[in-house]
């Protein structure tokens, strides 16, 4: 793979000298059943060139017809981004020659996008809110997938030929374009990541996209330019294409800021061009020159009639919108009484919805958090899956918690019970029974174990008798070991102190 050989400035130095301006084009694939203009299935991973109709292949004489659900999804995205919705808009042909479109044009929108002039408030990790203005969101179709063959690297350089699969051609896309984002300064890379994360969250929450970045459902082109502080005019921008993970978005913006700064420092102008992102080297390489006057010869698509909206339709769709993710988070944090740090950890661990369900099932927010952030997250990490994928249901947590609260098991034993339940041994109560996991509450066996532990550590026993009550931990440990954790540690402590005649 091509390593970036460009000079870069350190990020701190770059930001000290130059004011970064960002801009994003995020493409969102909708999860409609069918394509934007044909009734072919919109599905991922099928046999190549089977989810195609004559419309998708651009065969002569075909007539595209707009997917009504896709239009409603586009309007919902527009509303969620606080956009105005066009009263009337058209489709347009964007003409270019490349085998990813068999028609030699992409059906898109040009002068009149369905949604325009919106904004979203992006919350950064420390709680700072940054408003990003949305220029437009328009409807278009995805292109086919090219695989470059021959050559040594699988990249297009040196390829002998390319193979094309048109299953993706015509999949509904919404392209969301920001206005230039100024004033992010050193936080530009963080903002970039947070912005794309917010878009992904919004479309997922709306239910209009599967929003899986690893499948290309959400793809980002990141524009970066630098200018001296205080200068109003934007610098020359580069557009880094297809940066397709949140981490990559952050790294790509950071890298381009550093690279631009190094170029500008030598007194050379930035070349306006597209850049390719390389995850392995975390750098970009030059793509093709790009001018603002790229001539795609847009013209109105004669085969598609305009989309006309009205207030009743828009308000009906608005009423169907789910609670916005940011507001939902605010509400849940207030309901649960978590600190900012606790709540952020919960969100980052991806267990907010699980906790919500668990609280609804009947335990306190504190208990739900203890389980999802503790034992379940630990297991998820070991298994390298998402916590929600472990199969732990809210009802299971409620039952385990009830067993703990009744004193039948303790925290430590509850993990063994969870093991048993996940291994299919039955309900928590059944597992306690079968595995003999109940807490030893009869003092008889406990006293026996205590005497054993005291005899094994006479020096510790003497210390405790001498008033060093904190030394009792060593004896408690010995008892817990002897009872294989099945004792109530608090009760054990009490009994030891009683045995030695010491006031706790």
């Amino acid at each position: 793979m091509t390593a970036g050989t460009d000079e870069v400035l350190s990020f701190d130095e770059a930001i000290e000298k130059y004011d970064p301006v960002l801009g994003f084009e995020v493409h969102v694939e909708l999860n409609t059943r069918t394509k934007m203009f044909s009734s072919a299935p919109n599905a991922f991973g099928d046999v190549p060139n089977t989810n195609v109709t004559p419309v998708d292949l651009g065969l002569p004489g075909v007539l595209p017809v707009v997917n009504g659900v896709a239009v409603e999804s586009a309007i919902k995205i527009g509303l969620a981004l606080n956009c105005s919705i066009a009263e009337k808009c058209y489709f347009a042909r964007k003409n270019y020659f490349y085998p990813d479109t068999p028609k030699n044009f992409q059906t898109s929108q040009f002068e009149d996008p369905i949604a325009y002039d919106g904004h979203i408030d992006i919350e950064l990790a420390d709680g700072t809110v940054f408003r990003v203005e949305i220029e437009r969101a328009h409807m278009e179709e995805d292109a086919g997938k090219l695989t470059h063959m021959g050559g040594s690297t699988g990249r297009i350089q040196g390829a002998e030929f390319s193979l094309v699969d048109y299953n993706r051609a015509g999949v509904p896309l919404i392209e969301i374009v920001t206005k230039p984002i100024e004033g992010a300064g050193a936080r530009a890379p963080e903002l970039a990541k947070a912005y794309v994360a917010a878009i992904r969250e919004i479309v997922k929450n709306l239910g209009v996209s599967d929003a899986r970045m690893e499948r290309g459902n959400v793809r980002c082109d990141a524009n970066v330019s630098l200018r001296p502080y205080g200068q109003e005019k934007f610098g020359t921008r580069t557009e880094t294409k297809n940066v397709n993970s949140l981490r990559a978005v952050e790294h790509a913006v950071r890298y381009e800021i550093q690279r631009h700064a190094a170029v500008l420092d030598t007194g050379t102008p930035i070349l306006q061009e597209t850049r390719h992102w390389h995850e392995d080297t975390r750098s970009t390489t030059s793509g093709r020159p790009k001018s603002d006057a790229d001539d795609y010869r847009y013209f109105p698509e004669p085969d598609l009639v305009p989309v006309v909206t009205n207030e009743a339709w828009i308000e009906k769709l608005r009423a169907e919108l789910p609670e916005p993710p940011a507001e939902r988070r605010k509400r849940l944090q207030a309901d649960w009484g978590y600190s900012d740090a606790e709540f952020r950890d919960v969100v980052n661990a991806g267990v907010m919805s699980s906790i919500e369900d668990t609280v609804a099932a009947g335990v306190s927010a504190a208990v739900a958090r203890k389980w999802w952030m503790g034992e379940i997250s630990r297991r998820a990490k070991l298994a390298d899956v998402e916590p929600a994928e472990l199969g732990v249901t809210p009802e299971l947590i409620v039952e385990l918690n009830a067993l703990i609260e009744s004193g039948k098991i303790n925290d430590k034993l509850s993990r063994d019970v969870l093991d048993g339940v996940l291994a299919g041994e039955g309900t928590p109560a059944e597992v306690v029974e079968k595995r003999g996991l109940a807490v030893v509450s009869d003092d008889g066996p406990l006293l026996e174990a205590i005497d054993g532990a005291l005899a094994a550590q006479p020096d510790v026993a003497d210390k405790i008798r001498g008033g060093k009550v904190q030394a009792v931990g060593a004896i408690v440990g010995g008892v817990m070991k002897a009872t294989r954790g099945q004792a109530d540690a608090g009760r054990v402590r009490e009994l030891i102190l009683q045995r030695l005649g010491v006031e706790g």
Binding site: T32, R33, T34, S38, S39, A40, P41, V47, P48, N49, T50, N51, V52, T53, P54, L57, L59, V65, V66, N67, G68, V69, A70, V71, K88, Y90, N95, Y96, F97, Y98, P99, D100, P102, A143, T147, H148, G150, G151, I156, Q157, A159, E160, F161, S162, L163, V164, D165, Y166, G287, R288, D295, R297, F299, P300, P302, L304, V305, P306, V307, V308
Partner: protein, 98 residues
Amino acid sequence: MAEINRDDVAHLARLAHIDMTDEELDRMAGELAVIVDSIKTVSEVAGDDVPATSHPIPLSNVFREDVVGETLSNEEALLGAPDNADGRFKVPAILDGE
């Protein structure tokens, strides 16, 4: 009054990937100029109160239900392709067209 000159035609030909000789460019510039001038007479009739119209038929919101319909088989899809491999259309490697 030619609205289209030879450079415009050369530019369009390049965008459309059409090879044209000098002679063809000259001829086409002349022919297109006549067409453009003819169409210009329309704007003499249509005043400022007539908006540019791309769709003359008063029809809007022609939508399709989101229901999967018939598709081509892989064999059918590839039937008209000059070349194919591995169930896919085989095309010359083109450097970064889009």
